[in-house]
Amino acid sequence: MNNEATLNHGHSHRDDLGSKMGMWLFLLTELLLFGGMFILYASYRYMYADNFKVAAMHLDTLIGSVNTILLLTSSLTVALSIAALQRKQTRFSVYLLLFTIVAGGAFLVNKYFEWSAKIGHGIYPKGPEMANLSDGEVIFYGLYYVMTGLHALHVIVGLVFIGFMVVFILKGKQTFDNFQRLENAGLYWHLVDIIWIFLFPLFYLIH
């Protein structure tokens, strides 16, 4: 593949396509990890359909919707940031990434208040309210904590990942013609977005 990129950077042994393939293979294992949990959700929902509807009514649709918009917008700014870097608009690219970090942080703050409210009502493993709930509702909240919790963990990892990219761009390690690491960070962030796209209707909108 003797294109221009190879001639200019032949000495650095870069393999952007290979790097991206590795990232995608990792992302697909993540998809199957969450996929297993979605199958668990589907199975229990099949068995306790009515209880799931009752439990879902107690989740705050507004917070869920706001968080969806936050994640979608943060995905947009990551995509725009790569486009900006390609156009050598380095400063704009960094601002877009910083916006992404703020939006992701706001998502986590909302999640904190949401979980705190539920825990305040005694809804947590072995919590006082759990004894009054049906089996299906207890399972629903168990899945809710595990799935949104694992997702929030991915948001935190994604934010750290993107934070590193800001540093790399500022240090000139990611540039207009060498941005595969930024693209991989973006792919990870978009995956986190996609998982939320499915979590949101399944937990908040099924009543």
Binding site: T6, S12, D15, L31, S75, A83
Partner: protein, 100 residues
Amino acid sequence: MSENTHTQQHPGYGLYILVWAGLVGLTTITVALAGFNLAGLTVVTALAIAIVKSLLVTNYFMHVKTDSPVFRVFIFVCIAIFIVVIVLTFFDLTYRFPLK
């Protein structure tokens, strides 16, 4: 073998913003629909909208539409495995716990 496929293409800001607007629009629709009683179709419509949204994200934000076809093969294999497992699980589940 360093094949940098993106140096040639510069996806426009406008397209990304358009995709984002579509995603926000679909979110509004799915939230609004949840207020109605669609009986058995509630989950189906919610999932259909979620699938359209994830297609928008993968094709445009994740560049699968313009990338090498090998990524489509990766994703296809992964989704196929997922579908096989969920179908087998439900064969088992519906046999053990038939709906009354």
